[in-house]
């Protein structure tokens, strides 16, 4: 039985796809059989971030409509044998997803995988609803910024009232907060909400803090999940988050500004 994890936020552009790609890669690198599904039908992007855009033949909607078998649509990652990607359709709209269809695909994936990660589209409409409906865990992605925090709280309300687990009265979805695009320098200057501020408002267990990092753009340029960039802060922060998800107790590493040495200050600016 796979554990189903939704990566969600409400607000758009906060780092869900970046997170889904790195989380999936991180779990797979540790030997877990992992599938990651793009629920952003009509605006698929996960394939690009994962670097498999030219290998897409069938997609999620084809499988739901039974135009293709799941194994025909799953793309095996070239870097990690335990990782598979199920791309979204580019030509359909969100109505192509149905509750029953999504349920069927997740059930089939559950037989073969340890983790199934659902990369949610923005908003609270059908695509986002179906991405979270069957989840066991939710990674709520937020930036330290007012509208993103507000939407994250809204999404938490939806997880606890509209999910399958809520409907059946089962144990609620396990929620985790991932704070991304964090800029410790701006926090120090009082220009950005701090981790503690956000935790005080949202009251969710903290999975990790991903710093604002140029490595993320470089990684997406190249189609490599940033977690594979081991030298970057963001890559290391994602590794820590994966380890915490798997139960390790690690301190937060990137929440204070880096202090450059004298040489760094003279030449690094």
């Amino acid at each position: 039985m796979a554990r189903i994890i939704v990566v969600t936020s409400g607000k758009g552009g906060v780092g869900k796809t970046t997170t889904a790609a790195s989380l999936a890669m991180g779990l797979a690198l540790r030997g877990n059989r992992t599938a990651v599904i793009d629920f952003d039908v009509g605006l698929r992007n996960l394939d690009l971030i994962m670097g498999c855009e030219r290998r897409v033949v069938y997609d999620f909607v084809n499988v739901i409509n039974q135009e293709a078998h799941l194994r025909q649509a799953l793309i095996r990652d070239k870097r990690c044998d335990d990782l598979y990607i199920l791309p979204a359709s580019q030509t359909r709209d969100k109505d192509a997803l149905t509750k029953e269809g999504v349920g069927r695909v997740l059930e089939e994936l559950s037989e073969d995988f340890d983790y199934v990660i659902c990369d949610s589209p923005a908003g609270i409409e059908k695509g986002a609803f179906l991405a979270m409906y069957y989840a066991d865990d939710a990674i709520v992605v937020s930036n330290p910024e007012v509208s993103s925090v507000r939407d994250a709280d809204r999404m938490v309300g939806i997880l606890s009232s509209k999910s399958r687990r809520a409907e059946l009265g089962e144990e609620p979805i396990k929620e985790h907060l991932l704070l991304t695009r964090y800029d410790p320098k701006r926090v120090e200057r009082g220009e950005m909400l701090s981790v503690d501020d956000v935790l005080e408002i949202l009251a969710l267990p903290l999975l990790g803090v991903i710093p604002e990092s140029q490595a993320v753009l470089n990684a997406s340029n190249e189609g490599v999940p940033v977690i594979l960039d081991e030298k970057s802060n963001a890559g290391q922060a994602y590794r820590d988050a994966v380890a915490r998800y798997l139960g390790e107790d690690l301190p937060q590493r990137f929440i204070r500004p880096e202090r450059k040495g004298l040489i760094g200050r003279l030449f690094g600016g």
Partner: protein, 96 residues
């Protein structure tokens, strides 16, 4: 205290403002989330009734539903304008 640091501390940091705004907003939205679905409509209708007698702003009324183990409490708060400022004359005297 130097002039510079006076100006620095005079204005709260924007993150502090953000936090306070969010705390109020999120608390309010959570309350609405758990509230019965008829509450917004009831609020509008109450406002309409009150306005037959008193001029009040849209935000002059706040409704909260609180729940404990035994009962639910509906709390309606209406802020009336100051005497003379916004009150209508008694209905009988109001022209037609």
């Amino acid at each position: 205290m130097g002039l510079l640091s006076y100006f620095r501390s005079a204005r709260p940091k924007s993150a502090q403002v953000a936090k306070e705004r969010l705390q109020i907003l999120v608390a309010h939205e959570r309350q609405m989330r758990d509230a019965p679905s008829y509450l917004p409509q009831m609020q509008r209708e109450l406002l309409a009734v009150i306005r037959k007698y008193v001029h009040v702003n849209d935000d002059a009324i706040s409704i909260q539903m609180e729940q404990d183990d035994n009962h639910e409490i509906l709390e309606v708060n209406i802020v009336l304008p100051e005497e003379g400022a916004g009150r209508l004359k008694t209905p009988e005297l109001r022209g037609n």
